[in-house]
């Protein structure tokens, strides 16, 4: 995991930390705390919620709490579109992989 982060996570760090909204350390702390609390609730309920979703939502929330226009909404909405597209896309790819494995075996 650490290896993956060190190899190529920097673009994501930049998107999350700089492009959605401008963050101060205090806001970063609030965002992390809010995301972590949401994640705890989801874990307690057994819901598989991604860290990505909670943290992104928390960052957007922190930015919008200061001023609604402080959030770059086009960046945030493109992230949401990516999430929506991801689910059926990965389902299709996984089904294709399963069939490929069964055929090749």
């Amino acid at each position: 995991m650490a290896l993956g982060t060190l190899m190529g996570g920097w673009r994501i760090v930049r998107t999350m930390g700089l492009r959605i909204t401008k963050l101060t350390p205090m806001q970063g702390f609030c965002a992390e705390t809010g995301g972590a609390a949401t994640l705890f609730m989801a874990t307690y309920l057994g819901v598989p919620v991604s860290t990505t979703h909670t943290i992104t939502g928390a960052i957007v929330g922190v930015g919008a709490a200061r001023r609604v226009s402080a959030v770059r909404w086009n960046v945030a909405s493109s992230i949401v579109y990516a999430w929506v597209i991801t689910i059926p896309a990965s389902a299709i790819v996984a089904a294709l992989t399963y069939w490929a494995v069964v055929l090749l075996r």
Partner: protein, 234 residues
Amino acid sequence: MPRSVFRFWSILIAVALLFDFLNGLHDAANSIATIVSTRVLRPQYAVLWAAFFNFIAFLVFGLHVANTIGTGIIEPERRRCHRDLCGAGRRHRLEPDHLGARDSLVQFARADRRAGRRRHGEGRDFGGGLERPVEDAAGDRAVAAGRIPAGAGAGRDRVLAVGALDAVCGRPRLPHPAIRLGLALFARPWRQRRAEDHGHHRGAALFAGPSRRRISRSRSGWCWPARPRWRWAR
């Protein structure tokens, strides 16, 4: 442990490690993004921090989510991939409903024998008086699964051996769900006239094409009054 099972598990673990690498690339990056971009921690420390707590957290919080993903989405009884990957054979070549019979003679005989069978889950009873004993049904299931050739048993089943074996060897090698999906989407009229059809073979037929009869008629140059008897196209 058989060798194929060992290979299966090692491939599974390798894929899981690869997934973890990609997960670090995405999710760990997300979770340390605020810390790094606000310059609270230097990136190296933040990465070590994230890796350490990612590793250690399941000891504290248990495996709720892992259990949900592992057992909650797919029902364990219906998981087919384990059986398929562990080399249990080529069962999925056969559709269990048809008992592997492609030859029409065999189909009729099977339909006759299956008339009394209770369809699983429906609780209905097709054709009243032809109930069969339970051990007969078990034998049928073994035939459908490709474990024994039909006709291995004694009695009237012996006649069916050749057709069933032919069907076992000649079927295309497609997974069962793919076959079911294909049949549902590209349903043709020949499916509705099958010998053993008692209703549930009729699928969605989203892309129902022209019937087989019309295609093969045009191919063979056959026109209506010329040949009195219809033969199924193979």
